[in-house]
């Protein structure tokens, strides 16, 4: 076939058109920005004129690299935060996988009680904004040594908490670990649930003991999934911003993201871009390793879909006790933070929990001049409502575009499964996942501050927030959609092709209705994520485009913690309730976006 004919028949297929367009768009939005970042690391910015002597804005310089990596200040600027980041990331992985894996195993393999409630509640910390637990931790355990009022714990017991317990790596790791444990639970649970139980039963018949089966069969089979979970959690923890910002800043415990925020927002954008670049490189390495592992994973987990009912391990006498304790702990993690926000948002003077100190000022007050510059209570506050409206609008738009593009991407990727183009698009669509949110925001900041071709300068517009959200959360949607398409045999569509049913109609009347719930999951996770996202948007919002999460952060920075607590409660309730409604009504679930089966 000659080239013209080949091209023509190539472009006649909708999936090819989708792949080619996505390849172009995603290269433009994810690969090109990396080059702009690289350039930014060797460019003099406005605020750096004073330091880089005798330079003009836009000049080439190696000053940033030298300063960050090879100077006497490097330890403070880069190496220490880098080390801290690694400690936090590894620690988080350890906590998340141990906890998530344990609960996944208990739920799928033992006769634990309350399985339904446990698996619903256990996901909660992931649905809630990541800093929720961090704020709750502070509400409870903050001490007066660092300054400010002591927390509830001290108020109730009189015991002053130690610094290491209240701030720094320990609480950061615990909180992030709890936040990402559901992630591990979903991934590992998915494998355990779909693993052919015959594999274990075969061993049981051979009179292998439970422990031996666990060691020799179950763990080796879920190991690839665990490794894959490890890498994903690692990259998420590495790029976490809000939690270290809340729990680390007071004791000057800096990680790369907080350092990036300081430098990008402050006097040394060049430093920040170097850190962003380094984090992206680590992300790419992780993607590479993950690809290798997932590639081989398929070869040895038999996913039959119809796992026979394996005999559950009996917890015997411990059953009630164990189930009760687990349920109690999980409820504690889910509900107590909410109570603490509510409490904190109702007291005037922080740290004083006596009844006389209670007020509804921060909710419905008109605002008084002696408190927080006459800021009205959040339910009477026009700025807050503007922020809420922006958040909702943003989340809906991001969910709509990310979800819809994700469906198309998944469709086309699975259609051309195995081809180079499909692999490329699959990786490009997953790539934003590994970009630290803050770095991603920084990229878009530097990309779209000026006119690019036919795209006008977008900084300060709402459209920029939508764009960055769509690209950042496309991985969730495309994963959900790839999963859904994999379950759909190609012949289902071909049966329509043969009868002359057009592409649009095949999508709308056959493919999408059949996998409705999976595709909807591709909308749900971007929605929830944008609703509770902070670090992605924090560099991009301007006063007119402020959203709830950035307002929360600003209130907290100003020390008006009551407002922050009230807003947080608002966000958590909104996210949790909308998740519950969507899940109940449509059968969609966030598991599918994360990659659980």
């Amino acid at each position: 076939m000659n080239y013209r004919n080949r091209l023509r028949s190539f472009l006649k297929k909708p999936h090819n058109i989708i792949l080619v367009s996505l390849a172009f768009i995603l290269i433009y939005l994810t690969i090109i920005p990396i080059f702009t970042i690289i350039i930014d690391t060797v460019t003099v910015h406005q605020s750096e004129l004073m330091r880089v002597k005798g330079s003009r804005v836009g000049d080439f310089t190696l000053y940033h690299w030298g300063k960050v990596l090879f100077s006497s200040a490097s330890r403070k600027i880069f190496y220490e935060p880098f080390l801290n980041t690694m400690v936090v990331a590894f620690g988080t992985c350890f906590v998340a996988i141990t906890l998530g894996g344990l609960v996944a195993w208990l739920v799928t393999r033992t006769n634990l009680m309350f399985k339904g409630i446990i698996s619903t509640l256990f996901i909660f910390p992931y649905i809630m904004p990541s800093w929720t637990l961090a704020m709750a931790w502070l509400n409870f355990f903050k001490n007066s040594r660092v300054g400010g009022a002591p927390g509830l714990f001290t108020a109730l017991t009189g015991i002053e908490t130690a610094n290491w317990f209240a701030y720094g790596p320990f609480p950061i790791i615990v909180v992030l670990g709890l936040h990402y444990a559901p992630f591990a639970y979903i991934l590992i649970g998915g494998i355990l649930r779909n693993m052919d139980a015959n594999l274990e039963e075969a061993a049981l018949i051979l009179k292998a003991g439970r422990g031996r089966i666990m060691r020799k069969i179950t763990i080796p089979i879920v190991l690839p999934a665990m490794l894959s979970t490890f890498l994903l959690v690692f990259s998420s923890a590495m790029s976490a911003f809000a939690v270290p910002a809340f729990l680390g800043t007071t004791v000057r415990y800096q990680v790369l993201t907080t350092q990036m925020y300081r430098t990008l927002n402050g006097l040394n954008p060049g430093y920040g871009y170097i850190m962003a670049l380094i984090m992206i490189v680590i992300g790419v390495l992780i993607l590479g390793i993950n690809q290798k592992i997932v590639g081989t994973r398929k070869s040895f987990t038999t996913i039959t879909g119809k796992s026979s009912n394996i005999s559950l391990i009996k917890l015997r006498g411990f059953r009630g006790l164990f189930s009760g304790i687990l349920l109690f702990m999980i409820s504690l993690v889910c509900i107590v933070p909410l109570i603490s926000f509510a409490v904190e948002s109702f007291i005037i003077e922080p740290g004083n929990y006596s009844f006389s100190n209670f007020t509804t000022l921060f909710w419905v007050g008109a605002g008084s001049p002696d408190i927080a510059n006459s800021e009205p209570g959040i339910l009477r506050n026009a700025t807050i409502f503007k922020g809420l409206w922006n958040s909702v609008r943003l989340s809906i738009l991001v969910a709509f575009f990310a979800g819809s593009i994700g469906i198309l991407a998944g469709y086309a990727i699975v259609k051309k499964k195995g081809s180079k183009l499909a692999t490329l698009v699959n990786n490009l669509a997953f790539f934003p996942y590994l970009m630290p949110s803050m770095a991603f925001g920084a990229i878009f900041l530097s990309m779209f501050a000026v006119r690019r071709g036919f795209i006008p300068p977008l900084y300060g517009t709402f459209a920029l927030l939508v764009l960055v959200g769509v690209v950042k959360y496309l991985p969730f949607a495309s994963r959900a959609s790839v999963g859904a398409m994999h379950q759909l045999s190609n012949e289902i569509e071909e049966a329509g092709i043969i009868q002359g049913i057009g592409w649009g109609k095949r999508m709308m009347r056959i493919i999408i209705p059949i996998q409705k719930s999976s595709f909807l999951s591709g909308y749900l996770l971007p929605f929830i994520s944008s609703m509770r996202e902070l670090s992605l948007f924090i560099l991009l919002v301007t006063p007119s485009t402020r959203i709830l999460t950035t307002m929360l952060f600003q209130y907290d920075e100003k020390g008006w913690s009551q407002y922050a607590n009230a807003i947080n409660l608002l966000i958590v309730l909104f996210v949790v309730i909308s998740n519950m409604i969507v899940t109940k009504v449509t059968g969609a679930s966030i598991d599918k976006g994360i990659g659980g089966q």
């Binding site: 023509r8 071909e494 049966a495 009868q499 002359g500 049913i501 209705p513």
Partner: protein, 370 residues
């Protein structure tokens, strides 16, 4: 008249060749079976004719019209080839009722409501699934789903019907039943059937012509009985027939003008070709093929062996006889029972035994043994 012609059709997946330079001419209203072991390229061939897969090379004509040509850059889309396709796993749309599954294609063709209804009802009756018209596919048994799939395929009235192992998911009894139905449908619908199966018995019983493939290469394209009695090579002979043909490795030697003396250690027989004489080199390695039904156990047989095992199945009995370390399989009508180790006499009394060259595996001649 819809006839299908394949000219030099080749399909490569990357470097591996799935179908290798296939030439085929399927006449109007034939019932052609693509037969071969799994992975030999049957599905690929069928999908290429239907337009679901693009050949790497070659031309395809349907009804005199070129629907694919790699040289001219023609590639007509499947829906314009006026064909139906019955998928192995039925591919019913799970979110539509039986009625909707059948009517959807017609609605898409903008038929009028009344006409659609009439057509669907007729099809439901024809396939005897009227009472299920409001059920969803998941509420039907395998056999019923199969019928719905057939009805859906027939709805738009294609003149050519492709079927990819449509019966492989059914149990043995249902499979027998559906075979009968398919044959009936073939006459009723007056269309051309191209049928894929790896089951040689299915191919034998259903088709008017069998196209036998091996590793993407056409082996033989002839009516079933011709293939059975006159296989073009050793692979075909071995693939078709159950129990399989007895194969004896022998050395040949021309004797008495047109006879060949075959020897294998202790056994020695004379092979008399049916038609023209053949020439073999002295000591040429040959394969002698004897169908199980061509060995008869009789009191006055020339050969004597011991019973190795008997497998009675009621209507017939498969008897395995050991002869100097060789196991011969023969089929006896009716239920007979022998004791293992018992001595029996038998003879080769047909003129349909086949001689293959061992190296090329080609059929050299068929003939009698004495």
């Amino acid at each position: 008249m819809p006839e299908i012609i394949l000219k030099n059709v080749t399909k490569k997946f990357g470097k591996s060749i799935a179908v290798d330079n296939l030439n085929l001419k399927i006449e109007d209203r034939e019932f052609v079976t693509l037969l071969g072991p799994s992975g030999c390229g049957k599905t690929t061939t069928l999908r290429m004719i239907a337009g679901l897969e693009t050949p790497t090379e070659g031309e395809i004509y349907i009804d005199g019209k070129c629907v694919f040509s790699s040289n001219e850059g023609i590639d007509i889309s499947p829906d314009k080839r006026n064909v139906g396709f019955l998928f192995q796993n039925y591919a019913l749309w799970p979110h539509m009722t039986v009625y909707k599954n059948i009517s959807f294609g017609l609605e898409n063709m903008k038929w009028e409501k009344d006409r659609i209804k009439e057509r669907v009802i007729k099809l439901l009756e024809m396939l005897r699934i009227s009472e299920y018209s409001n059920r969803y596919p998941s509420e039907l048994s395998g056999g019923q789903q199969q019928r719905v799939a057939i009805a859906r395929t027939l709805a738009t009235g294609p003149k050519i019907l492709f079927m990819d192992e449509p019966l492989s998911n059914l149990d043995a009894k249902l499979r027998m039943e559906m075979r009968t139905e398919l044959k009936r449908l073939h006459t009723e619908t007056d269309s051309t059937f191209v049928y894929v199966t790896h089951d040689q018995l299915e191919a034998m019983t259903l088709s008017s012509k069998i196209c036998l493939l091996k590793e993407g290469l056409l082996q033989q394209f002839e009516p079933p009985l011709d293939i059975y009695h006159n296989p073009s090579n050793f692979f075909v002979a071995d693939f078709v027939g159950s129990p399989t043909m007895n194969i004896l490795e022998v050395k040949g030697e021309n004797v008495n003008l047109d006879e060949v003396k075959l020897s294998n250690g202790k056994i020695q027989v004379l092979f008399i070709p049916k038609s023209s004489s053949i020439t073999v080199q002295d000591g040429q390695k040959l394969l002698l093929g004897i169908r199980p039904e061509d060995i008869s156990i009789t009191e006055n047989g020339e050969n004597e062996g011991t019973i190795y095992s008997t497998l009675p199945s009621g209507m017939e009995t498969v008897v395995k006889i050991e002869l100097d370390g060789l196991i011969l399989t023969c089929v006896v009508f009716g239920g007979v029972d022998f004791n293992i180790g018992e001595k029996v006499k038998f003879s080769f009394n047909s003129d349909k035994n086949i001689l293959f060259d061992k190296k090329s595996e080609r059929n050299i001649a068929s003939g009698k043994l004495i």
